[in-house]
Symmetry: C2
């Protein structure tokens, strides 16, 4: 992985993400960063979101339903998705890393990690 050259656009994208707790999509990032950089292109947004998540500076959330979302907080944590309103919420929970060992127990390969999200009804929708 080569080193990145600074860009104002990338900085603005990252700054925007850090102000938000609602895990916006690429398109939401685009419309908001345009307030500061009206000429930024959607391609630039996608490329930088990709770069940043590859480098572990942000987190990409793929729910398998609708577009990907992004989280400015790169520290390990889990997400909850409301089945009714679709909102994506950070969970504060004890770690569940033991599930990797459970998965590895009868497996021929090597389990290195997992992706998990929880679903149900959020506080407003229950």
């Amino acid at each position: 992985m080569q080193q990145l050259k600074y860009s104002r656009q990338r900085e603005s994208i990252k700054n925007f993400l850090m102000t938000r707790k609602d895990h916006p999509t690429a398109d939401v990032v685009y419309t908001n960063v345009r307030k500061e950089y009206p000429n930024i292109s959607l391609g630039t947004v996608y490329r930088n979101l990709s770069l940043l998540s590859q480098r572990g500076e942000i987190m990409k959330i793929s729910t398998g339903d609708g577009p990907d979302r992004f989280d400015g907080n790169p520290l390990p944590h889990y997400h909850f998705i409301c089945k009714r309103c679709g909102s994506v919420i950070d969970l504060e929970m004890d770690d569940i890393d033991q599930i990797d060992k459970i998965a590895n127990a009868n497996f021929g390969g090597v389990v290195e990690g997992h992706v998990a999200y929880f679903y149900g009804r959020c506080e407003d929708c229950k």
Copy 2:
């Protein structure tokens, strides 16, 4: 949910899926079912895969990387995705349903379930 009217195409799709352990994509289902029904359309394949997974007769696997895959075995189980070769493998592991309780502990809403997959290197790639 209304009742379904029988269709030969849907039966063929389900039968094909049950013969496979490799979790094929919609496109793979399409090219294979065409051997029996040369005029089947890709739309029909998508509609029926959707119907069958809504009804819990098959399982849809969204990895967030590449197209969705489908599993003819609807019984609860987990999947492993190889980071090197991309293959998706069934895991035989103890259940980890306790993670729903852990996630619910400090949460204002209601956790009803989870989606999880494991990744790493498969037996051939490790």
